[in-house]
């Protein structure tokens, strides 16, 4: 049995079925998983193995057909509406494959957005944006609009956006898929450094070898089940 209060993510017998007409398609079939704070974990597996569905359920973007999810000891799978939105806002950062910045907001406005939702005072927002832009190597580029930034720069902004509100968990979906290997490696190094510096937990869904090489732990999914759970580096917290 797990300690829900101290573990960051706990899933219990997680199942998700999709229905298409009368056909039931199982996407996740009874996943029990514990992810602790400060982990740098890669969720890998072939297409259709259930990686995206599992991330969606863990983050509360989708609801499970069966089972429960606890995040920071809170049953996120049972939250709804504004409570769920606020919980996600305060505890989870997202990095998407296609960056997905708001194109009409500048880099610094994109980063500021979540803090604005949190009601962080303007001066503090500005200060945190300035600092995190420095952390991701984008000093002086805060006023640029997303279309004026390269793919790598946009993904750095996305990382900054995900981290600026200081969530406990960063979920990253194929964050290097649209980047060249050099840029991808640089971004992974930034994330790894931030993981070690801030203690934020990273959970990646990926096919990228570079991500796997940097991960402490690799969870392999196959047909909606955990096929392998490999700890590749010793984490001081574990």
């Amino acid at each position: 049995m797990t300690n829900h209060a101290s573990d960051l993510i706990v899933t219990e017998n997680l199942r998700k079925d999709y229905r298409e007409d009368d056909i039931v398609v199982p996407a996740v079939r009874g996943v029990d998983l514990v992810i602790k704070e400060r982990e740098f974990t890669a969720l890998v597996g072939p297409s259709g193995s259930g990686k995206t569905t599992l991330l969606n359920i863990i983050s509360g973007l989708d609801s499970p057909t069966e089972g429960r999810v606890w995040l920071k000891g809170k049953p996120i799978s049972e939250m709804k509406g504004a409570e769920l939105s606020d919980f996600r806002r305060d505890h989870i950062g997202f990095v998407f494959q296609a960056y997905n910045l708001i194109p009409v907001l500048s880099a610094e406005e994109n980063i500021e957005y979540i803090m604005m939702l949190q009601g962080v005072p303007k001066n503090e927002r500005r200060e945190r944006v300035r600092k995190i832009l420095g952390d991701v190597g984008l000093q002086g580029m805060g006023r640029r609009m997303p279309p004026k930034l390269s793919g790598g720069q946009q993904q750095r902004v996305a990382i900054a956006r995900a981290m600026v509100s200081r969530p406990g968990l960063i979920l990253a979906d194929e964050p290097t898929a649209n980047l060249d290997s050099e840029t991808g490696a640089a971004l992974l190094d930034i994330m790894r450094e931030l993981n070690e510096k801030t203690g934020m937990t990273f959970l990646f869904s990926t096919h990228d070898r570079m991500v796997m090489d940097r991960a402490d732990r690799i969870i392999t999914l196959k047909d909606g089940r955990v096929a392998r759970d490999e700890i590749r580096a010793e984490n001081p917290i574990r």
Partner: protein, 408 residues
């Protein structure tokens, strides 16, 4: 809220062409409403002026029931006292006395019924526009006692021209005996109002009194006020003051109730027009907002994923509807102003067309009024916001995982 307004304002310019097309649709609707309002105001002013300044006056005093019976015996009671009172009224700009009698008019070629009106040419000229609409001849200029000014249609019926003789037959007050006099046609007018052009004949009031046996009396006192809004107030004590001792004082609104009713109906028609225009516009707004919503479904998924509440997503869509409304209102107000302003300078020629028993005697000038740029834009804004609630509701209910299905 300020952040969402900024975001909404920028969002509506992401697809400039679509925003412009939707904005123009709303703007044209707004401009149409502004112009129709201005046109109705101009039409109202024109018709009231036609009805009152042509001949009727803004108010009248008669003996009670004269207006209904046209009985020659029913002259204004206590005329000298009434006239003294009117002279001391600061709101009365001028007045004129008339006799009015139904009779017949004949020429060698034809005979017709006529409303034989005795007027004081000097005061009548200042109150009514008979002298302004003369097609031929002059307006009692040569001082001839038997001069007669008659309507163009009546002259055509009688086949008379300037200088020709006509004979008027009326019934004398009291005895009811017939009185007959010969007049000479000195002027022919045309108001483009069928009733007036076809049956009115004016003579000097002294001659008319003599024929009717009135001995200084008058059937009607026509009034003009310093402010034409004076006559629009039925609760004004003026009407009670002069509705005594067997007399009745009435405003033009009572004399021409059909005109008032028609104008009310025109305003109602404008209301229907507004509903139809808004109805057309509503589909444009909904279509634009839904297209924008579906086009950015993934983006809304991202917004929700990073912690934006459903209520904030709804707020954003409503702000986008508001931003579209503001843009449309600016375009529509400019368009409406320019269109109305240009036509208010050039005028629209409806002369000769009868409407509600009267006619347009002058060019119709649409009237710009500040309320047109407050009421209608405010209505468009509120309406657009209300319409925006529907797509906003849909946006608030979207499932985040569905919106993000192709990515995370």
């Amino acid at each position: 809220m300020g952040f969402f307004i900024k975001l909404a304002w920028r969002n509506i310019f992401r697809n400039k062409r679509r925003t412009f097309i939707a904005g123009i649709a709303i703007a044209v609707g707004l401009a149409s409403l502004i112009f129709c309002d201005a046109l109705i105001r101009g039409m109202k002013d024109n018709l009231i002026k036609s009805a009152t300044a042509s001949f009727l006056g803004e108010g009248q005093i008669h003996a009670r029931r004269f207006w209904e019976t046209q009985d020659a015996e029913k002259t204004v009671n206590n005329l000298p006292t009434v006239l003294d009172g009117l002279r001391s009224e600061k709101d009365v700009e001028l007045f004129t006395l008339r006799t009015m009698s139904l009779g017949t008019i004949s020429s060698p070629a034809n005979v017709s019924s006529v409303l034989f009106v005795g007027v004081n040419p000097e005061t009548e000229q200042r109150l009514s526009r008979v002298d302004d609409v003369l097609e031929e001849g002059s307006y009692f200029r040569d001082g001839g006692k038997r001069d007669m000014v008659l309507g163009g249609d009546l002259a055509e019926l009688l086949e008379v021209e300037l200088g020709d003789r006509v004979v008027v037959t009326v019934s004398r007050a009291g005895s009811g005996d017939l009185a007959q006099e010969m007049f000479r046609v000195s002027g022919i007018f045309r108001f483009h109002i069928k009733e007036m052009d076809g049956s009115f004949a004016f003579a000097r009031i002294d001659k008319a009194r003599e024929m009717l046996g009135l001995d200084g009396g008058a059937h009607e006192i026509a009034l003009k006020f310093r402010d034409n809004r004076f006559a629009l107030d039925p609760g004004n004590p003026f009407w009670d003051t002069y509705s005594r001792e067997g007399n009745e004082a009435v405003s033009w609104t009572a004399l021409l109730p059909e005109l008032t009713r028609v104008m009310d109906m025109v305003w109602v028609a404008l209301g229907f027009l507004a509903v139809i225009l808004f109805g057309i516009v509503v589909f444009g707004i909904i279509n634009t907002l839904f297209m924008s919503l579906y086009e950015r479904m993934f983006e809304f998924g991202v917004l929700r994923a990073v912690g934006t509440r459903p209520s904030d997503v709804r707020k954003l869509i409503v702000c986008e509807a508001g931003a579209l409304a503001v843009l449309s209102i600016v375009m529509g107000s400019i368009l409406g102003f320019v269109l109305t302003f240009v036509l208010a300078q050039t005028g629209i020629d409806y002369r000769g067309i009868e409407f509600a028993g009267t006619g347009f005697s002058e060019l119709l000038y649409p009237v710009l009024h500040f309320s047109q740029f407050i009421i209608y834009p405010a209505a468009v804004f509120v309406f657009t916001i209300l319409v925006g609630l529907y797509p906003a509701r849909a946006a608030g209910r979207l499932t985040v995982a569905d919106a993000l299905r192709k990515s995370l």
